[in-house]
């Protein structure tokens, strides 16, 4: 902070105008090399308009040297939000692409700038959100906070969901670790500070980070964002509170668009009626109770086949999570979690962040397996 006054002014501005970096769905630098800047001109052959990333295929060059390249762009959801559609380019169109090439030498580029007939297209600006002051926490008739959407006065269906996490990696309270949207550390030297790792877990975490999160099972195999990870995702989550059946559905916006259940009937963690009590799960088994204004959720019974956070912190089947949800006002959900996993950590540890309400819309429709064979 070389200019304290300027710094102060910048902070004031940030408080009222929230700028959200682009949400990439995998760590771009895992697949593409920022040092391999590439400029291509080609004729579009095919448009694969699918999540998690759109691909435009084009023929570059002519004659014997012609080759088909894939230009990777943002997701269908982000491109459509910026008003582009699958008809924005068509086979036969001539494009100029400036981007960075794939690390493995395949004919793929991440398209930073795409130009059609002299005009830039597929430009997804960073999201700007005006943080209007939140109204009061909406409540059920019995006074409990509503975690999900509240009935409207307009007669329209109640919509809205939680997204825009204020932290996108799992790091212990007080460590102030900087990481990008995918949980990639800004500084790899911070790795040991992130959590009270056991030595093997710290080594594995560092390895995953050094590989730029390329081994992430969510992006390689479409495996689910179990655990705290679902609360750090760009497409958010929604709660559907089925009070009569004493359960809450958590609808997940990204990944495979799964749902999971939190039970509020005081059952023990033995699995569902007629279900699979023998099987460690991606989402674990969750049982919750209200403690004043806070929903406390106890989840255990996880398998080890996924990453339970952005950034690849390890966990074992011994993992137990205690998550606390408090809707402090209409637009703000406070999320706190205690990680208790003696298989990977030397002691329980805690962290937390806030999620912001996105009103007027339901969860974006995203299926990880959309562009798979």
């Amino acid at each position: 902070m070389r200019h304290p006054v300027l710094g102060f002014v910048v902070m004031i501005a940030a408080a009222s105008l929230l700028i959200l970096p682009l949400s990439a769905h995998h760590e771009i630098t895992a697949k593409f090399d920022p040092a391999k800047t590439t400029r291509l001109q080609g004729i579009v052959t095919y448009v694969d308009w699918a999540n998690p990333h759109v691909h435009i295929f084009m023929n570059v060059g002519a004659g014997a040297s012609m080759a088909n390249w894939a230009v990777e762009l943002e997701s269908v959801i982000d491109l459509q939000k910026a008003k582009y559609t699958r008809d924005t380019v068509k086979p036969g169109d001539s494009l100029t692409v400036e981007g960075i090439a794939a690390r493995d030498g395949s004919r793929q580029v991440w398209g930073n700038t795409v130009t059609l007939a002299g005009k830039r297209i597929f430009n997804v600006p960073e999201e700007t959100v005006n943080r209007a002051p939140g109204g009061p926490t909406p409540r059920w008739p019995d006074g409990k906070p509503r975690l999900g959407p509240a009935p409207t006065t307009t007669g329209l269906a109640a919509t809205g969901y939680w997204a825009r996490p204020s932290m996108t990696i799992l790091a212990e309270n007080g460590t102030n670790i900087r990481a990008n949207k995918n949980g990639l550390l800004a500084n790899i030297a911070d790795a040991p500070k992130v959590a009270p790792f056991q030595p093997w877990a710290k080594d594995l975490f560092e390895l995953r980070q050094r590989n730029r999160l390329a081994d992430d099972p969510q992006y390689l195999y479409c495996l689910p964002p179990g655990g705290p990870r679902q609360f750090q995702q760009p497409y958010g989550i929604q709660f559907v509170e089925d009070n009569e059946r004493q359960r809450i559905f958590v609808l997940i916006g990204g990944g495979n668009r799964n749902y999971r259940i939190i039970y509020l009937d005081g059952r023990s963690h033995v699995g569902q009626v007629g279900g699979d009590d023998d099987n460690p799960l991606y989402y674990g088994r969750a049982v919750a109770k209200w403690n004043g204004q806070t929903l406390e959720v106890d989840t255990r019974g996880f398998n080890e086949d996924f990453w339970f956070t952005n950034g690849g912190l390890p966990h074992t089947e011994q993992l137990k999570l205690l998550e606390k949800f408090t809707r402090t006002d209409f637009d703000t959900l406070r999320y706190d979690v205690t990680i208790d996993d003696p298989g990977a950590y030397t002691r329980p540890w805690s962290t937390g962040w806030t999620l912001r309400w996105v009103g007027g819309a339901d969860l974006p429709v995203h299926f990880c397996q959309d562009n798979r064979p």
């Binding site: 769905h25 995998h26 697949k31 694969d48 998690p52 990333h53 691909h55 894939a70 990777e72 269908v76 459509q80 559609t85 699958r86 493995d104 395949s106 793929q108 999900g148 959407p149 009935p151 007669g155 329209l156 269906a157 109640a158 992006y219 390689l220 195999y221 479409c222 495996l223 689910p224 559907v240 089925d242 559905f249 609808l251 495979n256 668009r257 799964n258 749902y259 999971r260 259940i261 699995g271 569902q272 009626v273 007629g274 279900g275 699979d276 099987n279 799960l281 991606y282 989402y283 086949d305 339901d362 429709v365 299926f367 990880c368 397996q369 959309d370 562009n371 798979r372 064979p373």
Partner: protein
């Protein structure tokens, strides 16, 4: 409905014959499947009726283990609808029958297990009536001028299974189907290097 009775266009009939022969349905490759296919799994569905939110949410147990939202507030379908696997559904009550109207399907899935074709023009109407505690009568009308010469109707029953609850099912957990499925379906490209 018998295949011979389907008012199907010739190109769609050829596609159906091909699919009957090859059975390379997208559902087995973990793709979400709209239309009646959602209800044609052995594990069934669960429902969350949220009347004060004016939505009904239907959860698949098997397949993609995902949810489908039906808006019950009388809203029209959006004009700039981008096609998706489940389309955009609006519903209303007609006496004791829930009538669901859906448009906006993409073509990346099959609407049933045998591969009855559809196009993005599909306008589907579903009627659900709980005739007794244990039975829901399901009637679906397929109105798709892209594949059929006129709308047609079919249906089946749902059975209520008491004393069972949703369990976790993740299709991608360990699915060998993409390796094992054999057939002449050239456009299933297993050599693609495009990994998100």
């Amino acid at each position: 409905m018998r295949i011979s009775e389907l008012p199907i266009q010739p190109w769609a009939r050829a596609l159906l014959d091909y699919r009957l022969e090859n059975q390379l349905e997208p559902h087995t490759r973990c793709k979400p499947s709209g239309g009646p296919r959602q209800f044609l799994t052995p594990y069934g569905v669960e429902t969350a009726e949220m009347p004060d939110l004016k939505q009904i949410i239907i959860m698949d147990l098997g397949g993609p283990h995902t949810y489908r939202v039906i808006y019950m507030d009388g809203r029209p379908h959006p004009v700039d609808l981008q096609p998706t696997y489940y389309g955009h559904s609006t519903g209303k009550w007609d006496g004791d029958t829930l009538v669901i109207d859906t448009v906006g399907f993409n073509e990346k899935f099959w609407i049933d297990r045998q591969g009855t074709p559809h196009t993005e023009k599909l306008h589907m109407t579903e009627r659900l009536t709980r005739t007794d505690y244990n039975t829901i009568k399901y009637v679906v009308t397929i109105d798709d001028p892209g594949a059929y010469t006129k709308p047609w109707t079919s249906g089946f029953n749902f059975r209520w299974t008491a004393n069972s609850e949703l369990f976790e099912y993740v299709c991608q957990d360990n699915n060998y189907a993409p390796d094992l499925m054999v057939g002449a379906q050239e456009f299933v490209d297993r050599t693609s290097k495009i990994v998100p």
